[in-house]
């Protein structure tokens, strides 16, 4: 079965978006029978990847289709349960790879809530009635303001350790200590109480922002939404851009989009993603951009690349290396970049720039070897040059191939490479690259706008290797073959370590700790063994732990 990340509100099974002027309600009402796989029921508003794909879509549409929405109320369609978190039976039955991918995607989705709040003026308020446990509370943690019903039974909880012998998988621990700044000893108590914390104590410990009686909770929530909306810089008038279905066709070994192509060679474990640059000029005005809507090249390319990466992650687990290529006119890419830069304060321009930021982060977080191949006819310029800097290595051809009349390979920088698209560590890719030689950033910046040939790019440290056509073919082939021979686990760990040099942020902590601790625990018998907590969950039998502390 192919997991599809494309959906739309008409086909949602688990979420509902209600728009009321400046305020939207995002209502979680999970269809028990709507699990992505067989073998479990999504009881108590628990979720699986399918539920989160809809959530991701909803958050994205609120940003693009509803410029008028300034505050979003996240709530449950069920008064007795807010959300019980990720479905345990799903987790118990899932492969390790699926669990890891599931956690990664759900984390990216929660981060996108915080991104909407921080950068799009779309603030999230969470109304918790009933239990918000585990991933349910983590959803709430991703919002700006948590309102808990003070009905003496509603609670927030992170019961993973006592109940399941795993960790909260979507940033719960990090957001409790770093975002909500809960005192560490109280956090320790909180994370070991299966039934969680209610009412006033939840407020006192900063786990929620306020506890409100049911009779006032709707009024207070609406009031908070109005307050957040009033402080927002969203434009307040329509229309939005409809995120129309992607044009794509799936073949045995490829996916073709309008501007992106993903080709998979299963024999070698190498996939190639190619992005075609724009074949027309940038629009004349913001109104033109609005009129083009989802067809506007930067938005279209971002959506297609996003979907291709997600497809690769979920459905092509054995691809070891992702080769990134581009074709087109660098000037055209730069013209679009310049247009977006000029319209960075327009709501749509802003959304598209932030969307590219998120897509590039998704590339950074993809646990495959990333390599940029910079050949004649390519357009690694501005935004697309970020792909070369996201790669673990880049190979650039000096000169041309024989009997190839495409223009010689060139790398071209613009302002977008110097801070427009921060990585999850808060730095630009070039800042991260040149952590030990900050002067190289200046040197590169000084050459902004120039087409840089392979030797210059090499000199500036912008590519890993520059080869002429005599060495090119062999060098690239040997690299790909060597890479495919290494342990996938070793590579995943090594690459993730090397990609995120520099400071820690909440995001890097969340992903780093997810990878280091959760994915370790997900392999350990205490969680996933025959007698481990995940496998025994629901049977009534106690897990049998190996008592050795590691």
């Amino acid at each position: 079965m192919r997991i599809d990340f494309q959906t739309s509100p008409e086909t949602y099974r688990h979420w509902k978006i209600d728009i009321d002027g400046e305020v939207a309600s995002l209502v979680m009402d999970v269809d028990e029978k709507g699990g992505l796989f067989e073998g479990y029921e999504l009881k108590l508003n628990s979720y699986d990847l399918g539920v989160d794909i809809e959530l991701n879509d909803a958050i994205q549409r609120l940003r693009f289709e509803h410029p008028e929405v300034k505050a979003v109320i996240m709530r449950s369609g069920n008064d007795r349960t807010f959300c019980a978190g990720a479905n345990i039976r799903m987790l118990a039955g899932a492969t390790h790879a699926h669990k890891v991918n599931f956690c990664k995607f759900t984390n990216e989705t929660r981060n996108s809530i915080e991104d909407a709040s921080e950068h799009s003026g779309q603030k999230y308020i969470c109304l918790v009635r009933g239990t918000a446990a585990g991933g349910g509370y983590e959803l709430a943690l991703a919002t700006d303001h948590i309102i808990l019903s003070d009905d003496s039974s509603s609670s927030v909880a992170l019961p993973e350790v006592p109940l399941l012998a795993v960790l909260p998988g979507t940033g719960g621990l990090t957001r409790v200590t770093d975002k909500r700044k809960v005192r560490r000893d109280l956090a320790d108590v909180f994370c070991t109480i299966e039934e969680g914390i209610r009412g006033k104590r939840a407020v006192d410990w900063r786990l929620v922002d306020e506890a409100v009686p049911n009779s006032k909770i709707e009024e207070v929530t609406a009031q908070r939404a109005r307050e957040f909306a009033a402080a927002s810089d969203r434009p307040g008038d329509g229309p939005g851009v409809s995120l129309t279905p992607l044009e794509r066709t799936f073949g045995e070994a490829h996916v073709k989009y309008s501007t992106v192509t993903l080709e998979i060679d299963r024999a070698t474990g190498v996939a190639t993603v190619s992005i075609a640059g724009p074949d027309d000029g940038a629009p004349a005005s913001a109104d033109d951009m609005l009129a083009q809507g989802a067809a506007f090249w930067p938005l279209r390319a971002a959506r297609e690349l996003d979907d291709a990466i997600l497809h690769l992650r979920a459905n092509e687990p054995e691809v070891a290396v992702l080769v990134m290529k581009t074709q087109g006119a660098p000037d055209a890419v730069l013209a679009y970049d310049a247009f977006l830069e000029a319209n960075a304060d327009h709501w749509l321009g802003r959304e598209i720039l932030h969307y590219w930021k998120r897509v590039l982060k998704r590339v950074d977080l993809t646990s495959r070897t990333l390599v940029a191949i910079i050949e004649p006819g390519s357009c690694f310029a501005g935004t697309l040059a970020e792909l070369a800097f996201a790669a673990d290595r880049s190979y650039m051809l000096i000169g041309g191939f024989e009997q190839d009349n495409r223009p010689e390979a060139a790398l071209q920088l613009n302002g977008h490479n110097f801070g427009r698209y921060p990585m999850s560590n808060g730095l630009s890719r070039l800042e991260t690259r040149f952590l030990g030689e900050p002067e190289s950033i200046g040197a590169a910046q000084a050459r902004s706008g120039e087409p840089l040939d392979a030797e210059t790019a090499d000199e500036l440290g912008l590519v890993t290797f520059a080869f002429d056509d005599i060495d090119w073919e062999d060098e690239v082939r040997i690299f790909l073959e060597e890479r495919a021979s290494f342990s996938p686990d070793g590579l995943t760990g090594m690459e993730a370590n090397l990609r995120f040099a520099g400071p820690e942020t909440m995001e890097t902590k969340i992903f780093g700790r997810l990878t280091a601790w959760q994915n370790w625990i997900f392999q350990r018998p205490n969680a996933v063994g025959e007698d481990g907590a995940l496998r025994r969950y629901g049977t009534g039998r106690k897990p049998d732990y190996n008592r050795t502390r590691v």
Partner: protein, 483 residues
Amino acid sequence: MHDAIHVDYDTMIPNNVGLSEDRKVLKALEKWHPGYIDWWKGLGPDGFQEALVYLRTAVSVDPKGWAKFDYVKMPEYRWGILLAPQEEERKVPFGEYKGEAAWQEVPGEHRAMLRRLIVIQGDTEPASVEQQRHLGATAPSLYDMRNLFQVNVEEGRHLWAMVYLLQKYFGRDGREESEELLQRHSGDPDKPRMLGAFNEATPDWLSFFMFTFFTDRDGKMQLESLAQSGFDPLSRTCRFMLTEEAHHMFVGETGVGRTIQRTCDAMNEAGIDDPYDINRVRDLGVIDLPTLQKKANMHYTLSLDLFGSEVSTNAANAFNAGLKGRFHESRIEDDHQLTKDTYPVVKRVNGHIEMVDTPALSALNMRLRDDYARDCEKGVGRWNKIIEKTGVDFQLKLPHTAFHRGIGEFAQSEASPDGDILSADEWAARKDDWLPSKADGDFIASLMEQVTTPGKYAGWIAPPKVGIDNKPGDFEYVKIDPS
């Protein structure tokens, strides 16, 4: 040493647990006491706090002769802490720790689960008092009024029983939970009671009888399974509560039985053969049998919801941990661990209802519910005997477990009382044939009138066969205005 059988009335709180030697818990309970009395006065029986009620009060936990009867003003009732006598060398009777010595203290590992079980049980006790607080105003006789108040004060005592456990064994958390038990109120939108059926209104006496028959019977099943607990103080508490609970079920069964008796007698006197000739029957000032069926349908199904989901992790955990057993656990012949057994669970499979074998540990709610259904069947059988004796051609019947459910396998679908799965439209069209409509409720309400002459009964209900404590028919069970 305290006497474990007789109740110590020297302390403010009567008890057989040596409270006078347990200063810490006595202090905590004395602190809780005024809040409880405030709750009783504010949300207990409305308008009868000064009345003298002929109530039984427990004086011993000896099953033979444990209570004495006397006139009491309800706020002065001696609510106390009464545990059944401790069995020598009691063992954990089931689950993973089967055969080990029963716990006299809370095992740390199971503290949270145990507290939750006690809090849920405790939350139901005061809830029904709140639900029934206005019924005194429409009591069909002093006999019935007295029974209502007896049930109420004993539910109050059951709250004490749970609060004692919380305060004695659960430290600060237990004290906080004890407070919360007085903060949540039935039907309060801000702080509702924890379980659905305990937030429904009890608007009339037929509802009260149905509630005590069906919903208190759920309470009985829960107490029966907690009485098996390996946590000995809980087991002893519940065992004693069960002796009191029997009266509550008696009130329900005979209340409905007497209603049936009166209806059938009135039909015979008027020469009405057809029980479905509802308007003529109602003109006699009695409740027609089809409406009684509808009331039973509603109360039975709301009570089924109290058993939770058929397949339950919590129930499995509680059993395996030795905290909550099965109905009559000791009489069941198996290994009492259930790690390898299965139990048939009702499931909706492709639009049909099927029984699917499920690991027995996770199917404990289903099993307890089956035991409950059998217990209900017996009572309904006795009601049908009453009808049969009068010669009226009608039988009451319990609906299928798929009918009118808010929790479990059938929460998302509709079904007829015979268990046929229905579309939403079909359900909407037929619903009022099976469940009491507003008009049915209005009719029942129109019959409710207070009768306070000793020995007299409202027209819709027959007198009981014998009095409480063998008192004569015209005994004044409640002296409403004693001054």
